[in-house]
Structure formats: structure tokens, C-alpha cells
């Protein structure tokens, strides 16, 4: 195994301090609220640490999936349709 491969292997293991820092700053990083220099350093760490990169990506995908799937169309029951029809036609507040 070459020196380059060995260095690469250890870089993918990540640095414990940097990994803890990533988790601590996750919300601000994803929301784009970090100081540009801190943001750049964290991005640099993500380039070196596969575990942190997957962690951040899974957090981002959770937000996307939540937005995409949270609200299904739910057909209104016939009784509710009738109730709302009566409400619309009879409610004095709807003038």
C-alpha cells in the first residue's frame, strides 16, 4: 500500500474533534448561517471525512423528504362535504 493510500485511508476515518464540531454546527451549516470561514473549514472536513459527509447528507435528505411527503391528499368524507356545504350556505359570517 502506498503512502498516499495510507494517508487517504486515515483521512476517511475523520478527525474526532472535527467530527464532533460538524455535529455541533450541523443546523447552522445546513441553514447557511455559519461564518463563511467556519463554513469553508467544515466543507473541507466533509471532503476528508466520509462519515460526516453521509451524516450531513442524510440530515439534508430528511428535510427534503419531510417536505415532499408530509401532506398527502386526503379525500374528505361525504359527511364533511355536506357539513361544509351547509356551513358555507348558512353561516352569517360568510357574507
Amino acid at each position: 500500500m502506498s503512502i498516499k493510500n495510507i494517508v487517504g485511508f486515515f483521512r476517511h476515518l475523520g478527525h474526532p474533534c472535527e467530527c464532533a464540531r460538524t455535529k455541533k454546527l450541523l443546523y447552522e451549516f445546513v441553514e447557511g448561517e455559519l461564518d463563511p470561514e467556519v463554513h469553508r473549514k467544515l466543507e473541507q472536513h466533509l471532503g476528508d471525512c466520509r462519515g460526516c459527509l453521509e451524516y450531513v447528507n442524510s440530515y439534508r435528505r430528511t428535510i427534503v423528504l419531510t417536505h415532499r411527503h408530509a401532506l398527502p391528499e386526503t379525500p374528505m368524507p361525504a359527511e364533511l362535504k355536506q357539513r361544509l356545504h351547509d356551513f358555507i350556505q348558512q353561516n352569517p359570517n360568510l357574507k
Binding site: 450541523l26 443546523y27 447528507n57 442524510s58 440530515y59 435528505r61 430528511t62 428535510i63 423528504l65 419531510t66 417536505h67 415532499r68 411527503h69 408530509a70 401532506l71 398527502p72 391528499e73 386526503t74 379525500p75 374528505m76 368524507p77 364533511l80 362535504k81 357539513r83 361544509l84 356545504h85 356551513f87 358555507i88 350556505q89 353561516n91 359570517n93 360568510l94 357574507k95
Partner: protein, 208 residues
């Protein structure tokens, strides 16, 4: 979806807005016909109770009627409708909390004393045969996970990540300070992430 498929809906919405502003009561009936299923879905997701969701639908109709004058067309009409329904649901939840004298949505929170957030448990549905089933299952599991969030967490997720309201509006709607809101939202996202981990890998394959 193609733009051709979208344009009739937009035309319907433009007509609805015009008629509502002209105080045409029957426009509310057409609004329900076009968007009722989605609005009922919003109400149910907030309330998790059919009877309460039905009350919210009535409140939302009154709000639409009273506030249509303020709709300027800067956002899609459907987004505005969802927001009105979400606000009606939120008001209902707050009234309910006051009645129950339970944990207030306005209660100040911080990282140390925030409301307990138990691990979310999803039912294992086994492997999916195809992509359509996988998408259906994914949607079911996302909704099941959100449904299990305690109400104060569910509300911030629905307002911020689903309705995509600006932070200032979510703070106003919930009465939370900015740090408290961020903390609660982050914890809710982490809980959802943990519950959905097997599906996040599936999503990776689907989108790559």
C-alpha cells in the same frame, strides 16, 4: 408535471380568487372541490384527529373568506391556502392547550429543559418490489414518523420544513424565541432522520 398540465389549475385559481374577492359564496364550494383534499390533509396532519380537523376546515373557510382581500398573488394561491389552513390548525391547537392547561406552545424552551422527544419507531414493511411501491412506502413512513413526533415538535416541522414559512413567521405563530425554535426544529429533524435512516439510503439510490 408539464406547464400545459399546470395552466388549467392556475386559471381555475385565478377565477376562484376573483370570485372570492367579489364575495361569491359559491366560490368556496369550488375551492373545496379543487383543493379540499389537500387542505383536509393539512388539517389532519396538524390535529391528528378527524373531528378537530373538521372544525379546522370550517375555521379555514372563514379565514379564506375574511382574508382573501390581502392575497396579492405574490405566492401561489395553493401555498396561501395551505398557510391559512395551517394557521387555523395552529390556533385550534393553542386553544386546546389553554383549555387543557398543558404544555404551552408559548413556553420558553432551551436545550436543557425542552420537551422530551422519545425515539420514533416505524413499522418494518419489508422489501419493496418496485420503485412505485418504494415511493408509496417512503411517503407512508415519512408521515408515520412525523405523526409520532410530540405536538410541539410536529408543529415546528410542519410550519418550517413542510409549509416553508420564514423563521420569523414560525416564531410569531408559535411564540418561541429564535434559539428555542432552532433547537426544537433541529431535534425534530434528528429524530426523523434516525427513524428514516433505512429509507434515506433507498432515496440515495433513487435520486442518484
Amino acid at each position: 408535471m408539464t406547464s400545459n398540465a399546470e395552466s388549467p389549475v392556475r386559471n381555475d385559481d385565478e377565477s376562484l380568487v376573483r370570485r372570492l374577492k367579489a364575495r361569491d359564496r359559491n366560490a368556496l364550494e369550488d375551492l373545496l372541490r379543487l383543493h379540499g383534499a389537500k387542505l383536509y390533509g393539512v388539517a389532519l396532519q396538524f390535529m391528528r384527529n378527524e373531528n378537530e380537523a373538521r372544525e379546522v376546515m370550517q375555521d379555514a373557510l372563514v379565514s379564506v373568506w375574511n382574508k382573501i382581500g390581502s392575497f396579492e398573488g405574490k405566492s401561489a394561491f395553493t401555498s396561501w391556502l395551505y398557510r391559512v389552513t395551517a394557521n387555523a390548525a395552529l390556533m385550534s391547537l393553542r386553544k386546546k392547550k389553554r383549555r387543557e392547561n398543558d404544555i404551552s406552545l408559548d413556553a420558553p424552551v432551551n436545550d436543557e429543559d425542552d420537551i422530551p422527544l422519545p425515539a420514533l419507531r416505524l413499522r418494518d414493511k419489508g422489501p419493496s418490489p418496485d420503485n412505485v411501491a418504494l415511493t408509496d412506502e417512503l411517503g407512508d413512513q415519512v408521515r408515520a414518523a412525523i405523526d409520532q413526533l410530540p405536538e410541539p415538535y410536529r408543529v415546528v416541522v410542519l410550519l418550517r420544513d413542510v409549509e416553508e414559512l420564514p423563521m420569523t413567521e414560525v416564531m410569531e405563530a408559535t411564540g418561541l424565541s429564535e434559539p428555542a425554535l432552532k433547537s426544537r426544529l433541529h431535534r425534530a429533524r434528528l429524530a426523523l432522520r434516525e427513524a428514516l435512516l433505512p429509507y434515506l439510503k433507498g432515496e440515495d439510490k433513487q435520486t442518484s
